[in-house]
């Protein structure tokens, strides 16, 4: 195992938002105070037209990171070369600070379920993912982050906790982590573990980005829908994470039921108001 990435100082971009089509015009007209935008890579893997037109214009004014949903890093099929090629070409265009995807699989035998399917927490899966991350990092030649997903099932064959699995993969693959605070909350609720213990076990230096999002509570279980505001317990967990990890680039992830831009900006200010005093106190 190399220590190359662990000795690097973690880049810090500040407070960002997911770029959504509903807000394109307003972003260009108003240039809101957002430190950076995260794009869904697949939405811009097209030949031309509006998506790339707005992407290029907004990129002129804001730093960006790329976030993918279809790499299937844990999938049993071999990596999709054509997909990686398109991803790299898009990265050439966007010049993102980093590229992320999810610690999951999305389909097998050439199919795509368009979902973030959980992996079994086994040694086999750790080795499988780590080998593929190495391939991806070699090919993309950019910092690569894996995100923890929300999950609704526990496999009987899992031998580790989710945080042990995530940590083992990141260490074995020598990659960075995108820690989704809401996903930790959702999975903790669904599987009955202590979310703070999860946060306490993640290696500090590997975490490059936080996601904050809302979800749908069905009483007995929670579904990670990204269609609601961030709830108070998730804000509290975020404060807890800010204390442990220090300044980590943070963004609000809203994928559905997209509100006016101002509403997301208010949530972003809230994130800032929570984290900055914590960062300042730690620095003093």
């Amino acid at each position: 195992m190399t220590a190359a990435t662990t000795s690097d100082k973690r880049p810090y971009l500040g407070f960002g938002l997911g770029l959504r089509t509903d807000h394109y015009e307003e972003i260009l007209a108003r240039r809101p105070k957002v430190d950076w935008f995260e794009i869904i890579s697949e939405n811009y893997m097209v030949a031309g037209g509006k998506p790339l037109y707005y992407l290029d214009r907004i990129r002129e004014h804001y730093p960006m990171v790329m976030h993918g949903v279809s790499m299937s890093i844990g999938g049993a099929d071999s990596l999709d070369r054509d997909y990686l090629h398109q991803l790299k070409a898009l990265a050439e265009r966007v010049q993102p600070h980093w590229i992320s995807d999810h610690l999951c699989w999305t389909g097998v035998d050439g199919k795509n379920l368009h979902d973030l399917m959980p992996l079994p927490y086994t040694e086999e899966a750790i080795q499988h993912v780590a080998k593929r991350v190495a391939e991806v990092q070699d090919y993309l030649e950019r910092p690569f982050l894996l995100e923890n997903v929300s999950s609704y099932v526990t496999y009987t064959r899992s031998q580790l906790s989710e945080w042990e699995f995530l940590t083992a993969v990141a260490e074995e693959a020598d990659c960075h982590i995108l820690l989704d605070i809401n996903n930790i909350y959702v999975s903790a609720f669904n599987h009955g573990f202590e979310p703070r213990e999860y946060i306490d076990r993640i290696p500090i230096e590997r975490v490059y980005q936080f996601h904050l999002a809302g979800h749908t509570n069905h009483g007995d279980y929670i579904i990670d829908t990204h269609d609601h505001p961030v709830i108070d317990p998730v804000w509290e967990l975020f404060a807890y994470a800010a204390r442990r990890f220090g300044p980590v680039s943070t963004m609000i992830e809203r994928d559905d039921n997209i509100p006016p831009l101002d509403e997301l900006l208010t949530e972003l200010v809230q994130a800032q108001a929570i984290a900055e005093p914590i960062y300042a106190e730690a620095a003093a």
Binding site: S70, G74, G75, A76, G107, K111, L113, E124
Partner: protein, 260 residues
């Protein structure tokens, strides 16, 4: 076979076909049974893909109404699982599916409506390319016109529609009640394209449709004129062809003109 691949196959079969093999690979809890937990994935799968279809086929959804659209969508999802990294392409076989025996809709107009919407969707994000201007055309010396040929913009698509599909689409787009489907005596040719960031479509007279199809394959202007004699008097044919070329250029259908 790796245990990881086995697990993924079992889970995928559960999600797509509700196959049972996953049931005992997932832990029950006091609060939530394994069935309920697994169902979150299977239900989410169908909902997500249905949403993608609604996104691509808004007029089709309005035309069919919620329940008929859902029935058609679910049948499509079962028949055509996605193989694309981007969900944007998921609906690519919808028109063909609606034309097939597997479709729960027996109205032929719905397949045409789907084909039309898919073409609009395609024109939306097809490649960008600078368009040719009338000045570019005027710069070609008259003696070279017979060998002149054009390249169409990547977003240009042609459809021949049997039904009053575009009237239905227009009405749905305006939130009005569409007229009942009506089959024309002959199919009407249409061209669909994007100019700058906007998609357009219009119907074409038969001779123009023929000329556009030939021009798309690189046929020279002189040969186009000759072919148009099937519809137009020889003395008017050059004017007719030049008129097409001018219209295509002004509309942004042309992105290169060459004489070699």
């Amino acid at each position: 076979m790796s245990p990881l691949r086995d697990l993924q196959r079992d889970f995928q079969r559960y999600v797509t076909q509700r196959d049972d093999a996953m049931r005992n690979q997932v832990v029950d809890t006091a609060q939530v049974s394994a069935e309920t937990r697994l169902a979150i994935y299977a239900d989410g799968y169908r909902l997500r893909l249905l949403e993608a279809l609604e996104d691509t086929y808004p007029a089709l959804k309005q035309y069919l109404g919620e329940s008929r659209f859902t029935a058609a969508g679910l049948a499509y999802i079962d028949a055509h699982p996605s193989t694309y990294p981007s969900i944007r392409w998921f609906g690519d076989c919808m028109a063909a599916f609606l034309r097939s025996d597997a479709s729960p809709c027996d109205e032929p107009v719905v397949a045409e409506l789907a084909a039309f919407e898919w073409s609009l969707r395609g024109a939306f994000d097809d490649a960008d390319q600078a368009v040719t201007t009338l000045e570019d055309i005027a710069a070609i010396p008259p003696e070279e016109w017979p060998v002149m040929h054009i390249t169409l913009h990547p977003s240009v698509r042609r459809l021949d529609l049997q039904w009053n599909t575009t009237s239905i689409w227009n009405a749905l787009e305006d939130g009005a009640t569409p007229e009942p489907p009506e089959q024309g005596e002959y199919p009407t040719p249409y061209v669909i394209w994007r100019h700058e960031l906007q998609q357009y479509f219009r119907s074409l007279p038969v001779d123009e449709a023929w000329a556009l199809d030939q021009a798309a394959t690189g046929m020279a202007f002189g040969d186009l004129c000759e072919g148009l004699c099937e519809w137009v008097d020889a003395e008017h044919v050059a004017t007719r062809a030049a008129g097409f070329l001018q219209q295509w250029t002004v509309d942004g259908l042309v992105c290169a003109v060459a004489t070699s």
